[in-house]
Structure formats: C-alpha cells, structure tokens
Subunit: 216 residues, 4 copies
DNA sequence: AATGAATGAGGATTCATTCAT
DNA sequence: AATGAATGAATCCTCATTCAT
C-alpha cells in the first residue's frame, strides 16, 4: 500500500493496490472521452474533471496518459476474450453453430461490454511503447486465433468452402464486426441485435459451400 | 499569383491561382505523414521538410493544418468516386456482375490510387469544421449510394436474398473493403489482388439467395 | 508526543518532543540523497522511501524541505566546529603545530564525520531563508575565526610570512580542504590521509617565511 | 538556414546558423541567471525575459534547458583553455615563471572572462547527459594537463619539492583559484589582482623546495 | 505515528500560426 | 515564393504540501 508504485512491469494491470474503484472510474471516464474526442485531443484535465478530480491528482493513479490508453485497451480486449472463451456455444458443436455463437457473443460485447463505446473509433495505439503494443497484439491474436480455429474446423467438416483462406476470412469477419459502431446508430427499429442477425446470415452464407459453385 | 486569398469558402478546391504542382506535392507529402503518424502527431514542420520547404512557407499554400486534411480526404474520395462512376462494368449489366466489378475497381483504387496509403489508418476527421465534414459526408454518401443501388437491383432481380437489408449490406461491404489495409501486408504470395478475389467470392456468396435456405 | 508544533523559531533544533532517533535517520537519509542528486532534484518521496516512510509521513517530523537542508547543514557544521574546538593540539602550542593539527582534524572530519559525504558537492543554500542563512553563516564564521587566529598567531610568532593577508590565507586553506571530495576519489594507494599530508606540507611551506625571499 | 536544426551532434557548438548574436545574448543571459539562482531554480521564462523574448521563442534557438547549461559551460571552458594556451609566458621559460604566468592568466580570466560570473557557484552538471558530461570532462582535463605539465617540469628542474604529488598539486591549485569567487567580494582595497598576487606567493612557496627541510 | 488521497501551483516543452522582409 | 524569427496558448507532468482518518 504505497502510493503510486514504481514503474514496475509496464504491463501490470495495477490491481489490488490503491483505491481500485477510483481507478476503474478513471479508466472508464478516460475511455469515454478518448472515444469521443480521440486520444490526442483528450486532455488530462478533461479526464480529471469527468472523474471529479484535479489534473495532478490523476497522477496518483496513473503513470502517464499513454498508460491510460493501454490499460483501457488491454482491459477491453481481455474482457472480450474471456467472454468468448467462457461461452460454451463457441467451444462446442459444429463449426457453423460455433461461428454463429461467436458472432452473437462478439456483437453483444460490442453492444454492452464495459468498454462498448470504444468501438466507435479506432483508437490510435501508436502512442504506446513497443512492449505495450506487443501485449495488445497478443490479446488480439488470441481472439483472432479463436475464430480462425472455428473456420479451419468448418472447412474440415465440409461446411465451409474449401477454397476459403482462413486468414482472410478471420480478418474479414473480425473487422466487419468491429466496424459496426462506425456506421450503425442504434435505434428502436434497428437495434444492434438486428445487425448481429444480418452478420450471421451474411457471413455464414459467405463461407458456406455453395451447393452449386458460381462463376469464375 | 496573388498570395494567400481571403478565407473564402472553406470548401473551395483552391484551383488555379497557385502553383498547382507544388500544392499537389504538399498534399501528397502531408497525406503520407498523416497516415504514418496520424493527424495530430504530424507537425507542420514534418510536412514542410518532407516537401523541402520551411514551416512558415506552407502557409503560402494552405489556410491551416485542417485544410490539408480536408483537401486530401476530399480529393481521395472524389477520385475514388470518379473511378467507380466511370467504370462501365459497374454501371451496366446485372447486379451480380456490377457488384463484382465494383469490388474489383474499389480494391484497385485502394491498392494504387493516388492516396492509397490512406487506407492503413482511419484518419480522424473530428478536426474538421461542420461544413467540411458535411462535404466529406456527401462524397462518402455518393459512393455509398452507388453501391446501395446495385444491391437493391440485385434483390429486385432475385439474385440477392430478399431478406437482405440494403443499408446493412452496403455498409458492411464498404467497411469490409476499407479495412483491408489494416490487416493485410501485401507480399508476393498474397497480393491485394487475392484479397479482392476473396472478397468477391465471400460477398457474393453472402448476398446470393441460398438455393436451399439454411437454418434459423 | 504532540504532533507537529506551530512554526516556532525556524532555528529551533526541535529537541525533545519527537523521536530523536527517527529524526536523525531522516536527516542522514536526506543528506545522502541531497549529496547524490542535489537539493532541488531530490524529492520528498525520495527521502521518505529511503527511510521507509511515505511521503506525507515526513511532515510529522519536519516543517518543510528546506528545513531538512538547514538542519543537516547546521548539524554538520556544528559537529565540525566542536571537533576542532575540542582538539587540544589545535588550541595549544605554536602556530605551526596548531595549523598542522587543524589540517589533520579537519581532514579527518571530511573523511569520517557524520555528514562526510556532503563534501562531494556544494549544496546550494539559496533555498534557505535569511534567518537560517545567517545561522549557517555564523557557524562557518566560527570555524573561519578559529583558523584565522592561528594564522595571525603564526605571523606574530614570526613563523609565517608577515606579508600574509590573514583573510586570504584563511579562506584559501578552508576552501582548499573543502574541495578535496570534488576531485579526490579515495583508493587504496592514495587515501585521504595522503592528501592531508600533502596539504600540511603545501600549506605550511606556503605560509612559512621564506628564509631567502624570492622574486618580486 | 533551416530553423532549429535536427538534434545532430549534441556537442555541436551550434555555430554559423541562426542569428548568432541572439544566441550569444541568450547564453550570456542564461549564464547570469544560472549563477544567480542556480540551474534548477532558473526558469526558462526567467531567461527569456532577460533576453526580451517569450518563453516559447527560446526554443527556436535551443534544444532544451540542459542544452543551455552545456553550451555555456563548454564555451567558458574553451575560452579559458584558449587564453591559457595562447599565453607565451605559460609555454616558455622555467616552471616557476610558467606557473606564475599561469596563475596570473587564470585569475584574469576569472575576473573578466566572458563568463566570469560563473565562478561564483559550482553549477551542477548532473543534468547533462553522459556525452555532454564527457565533453566537459575533456575540456577540464586539458586545462588540468596544462598545469600538471608545468608542475612536473618544475620538479624535474629541481625548483619544486621532489616529494610533490603532481596530481594533488594540480588539483589543489586549480580548485584554489576556482574557489576565489566564492569568498572574495572585490572591493577597491582588495581587488582580485591582490588575490592573484597572494596565490602566486602562496602556491610558489608551497611548491618550492625548502632549502632547509621542515619537520616529519 | 503513519498513511492514502488529493491538491494546485508551477515549469518545460510543443506547435500552429503570423508576419516583416 | 520563401524564410527566419517570434508568438502564446495549450498541455503534460512534477512535487511540496495538506489533512482526515
């Protein structure tokens, strides 16, 4: 319990120390503003006042601004990953069913995960150091790998077109879903749920072996 | 010829008056650096020195930094739009063929259009004023509408699943293609061309009426 | 016992009330860091953690940062002065012998006095208020006066060159010895002891009446 | 002629570019304030306003605050060194005469060199990077070596006590002279000139072979 | 005695922008 | 057309200090 601890491992999720609730509030507040105005355009003061603190006080909790960006991103990714890994519909059954569950779960995270709002903009991670970038890359990779395995499975099972490039497909699907917040403004008549349904139909049809091949 | 003109219409493409070649060089240089480091992280000095000028000298050509961002974006979009509109494969034939050509042309612009590199990052347009944002929105809308018309046509022709929401589909396809540069590092064995082929197969299969419906 | 007392006399050695051992530890720790990094570059947190306390806790013992600097300096000077005054070799005998003892004692304080390390750098006292500066000036003056008396005596006794300006000589000798730590890194082959021997020879020869005058 | 040049060689004396006169003014102003208040206590704004510029404008000339400290120090040392090297009285004749000239010249630099005032305080160089510290160390070493050669010569010639440790002697003499400004406040009756005379007598007597040895 | 939390006044540095030449 | 010089507002971060518990 010793004030801001020394710059130990820069990846340390910084748990268990300090007022953990405050820290979460700060991350949340920062994430909101980052997604509203972008990382660079966001001022430390912006964040502080959203949380009801003074500029300097934030430094009791964080190392620096980039720290915030990293913690937010890694938290969001990890929560996302965990949610996917814990969903038994994703880890059991045939590939078509798994993929369907994957899309559902992924979209529901995008809609109501703790850092849901982050999806609205690509936050620029270039401000992070190499080590931190790597940590984020790793988390992303895990999600990627999870999906890729499903696709490979589907090809093996004969449900997905064998000509499918699993890497292309994986990236396409992930970026497709991640782009949702950029164009979709949820409304009563077209909630995110509908988009998820559309994705399922579109993606599954796109991957599925066409009974009758098509031109080319 | 006449030095910097008064703050006319902020959308004015600023044609004629000034050394058009220089201006293009500047836009190009700026675009490169913007996509390398992001808009905010790019300094006027960065741009100036890439073009071989001194900071202050840039102001002979431009109004301000955001000006640059706008001009680059609008140019890129307009070129993109024009290329699509002038491609007769996109404006003639059945929807399946048109969409196929649309994807091809779009991807080839992404690969070798004047501002191709821009695709690698979402450049943040929040720095632009409302008026300029609107102009960009309009250009984007036109591309969007072009594609949407094809999809609506395909549904009418019975080639695309009638349950398809044209708006969802349009956005999906556009964002899908626009995300390419974010994950694809072109290499000898998997050039962008291959990705375009994949997109065509994936998207068309995704839209096409499944002869035998699928689960749900 | 009574927490931090009101801002009494800023020179008050703060005896009694508080845990004297802790206070000494703190002074010692602070002195070390001051001499390592300089006064300004040293943070309260640096000091606190060296003593195993938390930033805020230090204020239970001290008034403020400058307080620390003052207490350290005045302690060091007083110990120095006392050591010199209590050395009978310095207060008895002829001037040559007294000066020789003075140098020995002074150098041994520099080597192993409680605040020996302070000598390595001139600690900047400009952060102290006038009153405290005066107190330090007074302590220094006493040491100065002690030495000066010896020199005057030596001149009177005819051992030192009558043309000697006692003030110049006093300052020269004192600053000479005080500069030792700035250039001398003690090693097995040239311990501080050797430097002290050199000083004795050099200084005494420098002051002693030249049997045969020299040029000028 | 391109604005503040890139952080080339951090030792570059930064000559020939920019308004050289301004740069000198800035160095001079900074040096004055550094010696008045110390490096850390000096604000960039302090310096700027002494030169009649605004805070930010200083950065047109310098890299950062430490840059200033370095340039000042290295300039002062180099001027000092040059003055010593160009004085033929120092490079010709017997050691006694050379040393005498050395002291004279050195003291006159301290009195009226461009950065004379610097002598009043030991400026803390810990803020400089390793490379710069090394450059300064080198300059100091040259001065040191110059003096040391004279002393070695004197011993060889039989004028200086053969028991003299040339390193000890060199450092003593240099630090002795450098400490002058710390205690001497020039006045009509005791100008620096007198101190120089005293140093010559004291130092030469201190080094010279005592015709009749003394105790020990 | 000690701590965790907060404060707020600075201070260094950056940079878009201006403008006389 | 281009430049060198200057501006000044903005921003990140530091740190001595306070204080309720």
């Amino acid at each position: 319990m010793t004030g801001r601890r020394p710059p130990l491992n820069p990846l340390e999720p910084r748990e268990g120390t300090l007022n953990e609730k405050r820290w979460s509030e700060i991350l949340r507040g920062a994430a909101e503003i980052f997604s509203e105005k972008g990382y660079e355009a966001t001022t430390i003061e912006d964040i502080a006042s959203r949380v009801g603190l003074l500029k300097g006080s934030l430094y009791y909790y964080m190392e620096n601004k980039a720290d915030l960006l990293f913690q937010i991103t890694i938290r969001a990714l990890n929560q996302h990953l965990q949610a996917l890994q814990e969903d038994s519909g994703i880890t059991h059954g045939d590939a078509v069913s798994r993929l369907s569950h994957f899309i559902d779960r992924f979209m529901s995270e995008i809609e109501c995960g703790e850092f849901a709002f982050l999806g609205a903009v690509d936050i620029d991670l270039r401000f992070l150091g190499a080590e931190r970038l790597a940590a984020i890359g790793e988390a992303r990779h895990q999600i990627n790998a999870l999906l890729k395995r499903i696709i490979v499975l589907g090809i093996a099972e004969g449900d997905f077109d064998p000509k499918t490039d699993a890497t292309f497909a994986t990236n396409s699907i992930l970026f497709l879903m991640n782009s949702t917040k950029k164009w979709h403004r949820p409304s009563g008549t077209r909630p995110i749920r509908h988009v998820a349904e559309w994705y399922k139909r579109f993606i599954l049809a796109g991957l599925t072996t066409s009974p009758t091949g098509w031109h080319e």
